[in-house]
């Protein structure tokens, strides 16, 4: 899966979970400013985990701030 595809997946899943439009979100966007609360953010991570067949331990999510940081982590776990 290419990075743009991964980003697109992120946008699609965020839209499903938060029931709002995420089309103006970029990779540089701060996750805390997307209008997702902490529970929804974890739900989003869970949705990506299932779709991609990876597991992301909680402690690796600590300190993740931007969308690109999250996607990098997902890519790292996919290649692990």
């Amino acid at each position: 899966m290419t990075r743009p595809e991964l980003f697109e997946m992120f946008q699609r899943m965020a839209t499903e979970i938060a029931e709002k439009d995420f089309s103006d979100v970029t990779e540089d966007s701060n996750i805390q400013e997307l209008g997702l609360d902490s529970l929804s953010t974890l739900e989003l991570v869970g949705a990506m985990e299932r779709e991609l067949g990876v597991q992301i331990p909680d402690e690796q999510l600590v300190g993740i701030q931007t969308v690109s940081q999250l996607l990098e982590l997902v890519e790292k776990r996919m290649s692990a």
Binding site: E33, L36, S38, L42, G46, E59, V62
Partner: protein, 561 residues
């Protein structure tokens, strides 16, 4: 079965064999089954290692163990060894680490813990904590590594009912949590009440299913310690998994034929929204005879919606069991009568502002869910500001007394004297009694009083939380005094793009639903609101930040001094 007197005695008395025990769904998605005998053996092993680490009877042991089976086995090991576990909550994801380390440092110091047991995966946090002066001289052990191999020899202490069973640190209104002392006697009194004939009436066929965090009373007492006291097998899933996949909770109930579960209001709301029609076909909730609800205000609307949604999966709404309690009373204070329809009181919203719960059939009536009656040997009073009992349907502070109530906060006489007066726990919660049942309205100190009328911030927050672009739980309503007049301030977390629209809508809702003018609306980025470890926002702390001008407000520059 005669009730045991301590958790240790309970553990000793549990049946052997493979039939009954705890099932853990781990962070690694693996399932681990521990029959009671295996839990007992492992607890004794861990007690030996803790003892060899230099701990003596009564010493506190801080636990930072996000993996449930590691937490439970180490907690029981500490209990068997006569030590006092101090559960600490794991670090929240997507958050900065510094504030978290501050709280951990405070807890190890306030509890004067002789040792900290953590997991390898928390090594980063532990090392940062070890750099703090508060950690000086305290041992660190890692689970499971430091409990491996042949256990050292040790001697089993005698644990009595008046000994401390554990310290429950509550978040409260500041970032300096206080340690509620829970004795073995408190634990046994509360859990035999909860699960006994007047409570859930545990049967040998019962199976508990829970995703609740084990560092809070509802998950720890409700599904680990209490269930051990009465021999009730449980299935525990990780809170992190519930957050990632809410429907897994219901899948586990289906798979294990769960009969008892518990959750805060928000969880019922979340799964109602998340579970799709096609998922309903694979769910079977007909085994569930108790679906408890507590730990935050209970909304009739939420539970009704859950009941309607899951009736197709065999859920019976009579399973709802609203309840009320707090860590200072171990876990529960009042319980709704099991397996009877929940009771919803409809009251006049205007009269409520004067503290009168007058029944109303009007469309705008407030719906308040009954939390039931106190347990046998326990009492509840509702009093006014002068400490006098108020009549039925008059709102006052709830006081509680009985064998479940704490002896106080650990090494904090001032806070203890403030909370427990003349043997009565002053809960700080507001409520009223009607028809013998207790109804909860809010918190004493958070009450918003404008023009002589009382407003419960929860009601305002709930209404605003329904607006598009705002999430329930991310709204905070409070009042500030300006020029001697109390004024309403609303803070909501939302996107910058939604801020102008929300400022207007919030003012409109506050006016139309409550007849109030809002003096200021602050729209802050998501993640701004200070929250407790259980995800509740901290109203007083938010107010303090607001008064200091420290809350970011989309599109509005901070005031210049």
């Amino acid at each position: 079965m005669t009730a045991p007197h301590t958790l240790v005695e309970a553990l000793e008395g549990l049946p052997g064999g493979e039939e009954r025990g705890f099932r853990f769904h781990g962070l690694d998605r693996e399932e681990r089954y521990y029959p009671y005998a295996a839990m007992r053996d492992e607890a004794a092993r861990r007690a030996a290692f803790l003892s060899a680490a230099g701990l003596t009877k009564g010493d506190r042991v801080a636990l930072l163990l996000p993996e449930n089976h590691e937490f439970v086995l180490t907690f029981l090991g500490a209990s068997v060894g006569g030590f006092v576990p101090v559960p600490m909550y794991p670090q929240a994801t997507f958050k900065a680490i510094d504030a978290y380390i501050d709280i951990l440092a405070h807890i190890v110091e306030a509890s004067d813990a002789g040792a900290l047991v953590a997991m390898e995966s928390n090594r980063d946090v532990v090392e940062k904590l070890q750099a703090r002066p508060e950690m000086h001289g305290r041992r660190v052990l890692y689970a499971p590594g430091d409990f491996a191999g042949e256990p050292p020899s040790w001697s089993r202490p005698v644990v009595t009912p008046d000994d401390l069973c554990f310290l429950q640190f509550t978040s409260g209104s500041t970032n300096k949590p206080k340690g509620v002392q829970v004795t073995h006697a408190n634990l046994v009194a509360n859990t035999t009440s909860i699960l006994g004939p007047q409570g859930l009436a545990r049967t040998p066929e019962d199976v508990g299913v829970s995703w609740l965090p084990l560092f809070h009373d509802m998950g720890l007492i409700g599904f680990v310690l209490g269930t051990l006291v009465v021999d009730l097998p449980v299935v525990l899933m990780q809170t992190a998994h519930f957050a990632r996949m809410p429907r897994m909770w219901l899948e586990l109930i289906t798979k294990h034929r769960g009969t008892i579960t518990y959750a805060p209001n928000f969880a019922y709301q979340l799964v109602t929204k998340r579970v799709r029609d096609k998922d309903l076909e694979t769910l079977d909730l007909s085994s569930l005879r108790v679906a408890g609800c507590g730990a935050e205000p209970i909304r009739a609307k939420t539970l009704k919606a859950f009941g309607e949604r899951f009736a197709a999966a065999g859920f019976d709404s009579k399973a709802f069991l609203p309840s009320y309690g707090m860590a200072e009373s171990c876990l529960a204070i009042t319980f709704h009568q099991r397996e009877t329809p929940m009771i919803v009181d409809r009251v006049d919203p205007v009269k409520m502002q004067d503290g009168i719960a007058e029944p109303s059939e009007a469309d705008d009536a407030l719906e308040i869910v009954s939390c039931g009656v106190p347990f046998p040997d326990h009492d509840v009073r509702v009093v006014n500001d002068r400490g006098e009992d108020v009549p039925e349907r008059r709102v006052g502070q709830i006081l509680a007394r009985g064998p479940s109530v704490t002896t106080g906060y650990f090494r904090n006489e001032e806070a203890t004297a403030d909370a427990i007066r003349d043997g009565w726990l002053h809960t700080g919660d507001l409520g009223y009694r009607a028809g013998g049942n207790l109804y909860i309205c809010g918190r004493v100190k958070d009450l918003i009083i404008i023009k002589g009328a009382n407003h419960y911030p929860q009601d305002l927050e709930w209404a605003i939380g329904e607006l598009e672009g705002v999430r329930r739980g991310n709204v905070c309503a409070f009042s500030v005094v300006r020029d001697g007049t109390e004024e309403l301030v609303i803070l909501a977390e939302a996107n910058r793009a939604d801020a102008p629209r929300l400022r207007q809508q919030i003012a409109k809702v506050v006016y139309s639903d409550f007849g109030l003018q809002v003096a200021d609306v602050v729209i802050s980025p998501v993640g701004t609101l200070p929250k407790t470890s259980s995800g509740k926002h901290q109203r007083r702390k938010t107010k303090l930040l607001y008064e200091r001008g420290e809350l970011p407000n989309h599109g509005i520059a901070p005031a210049q001094d």
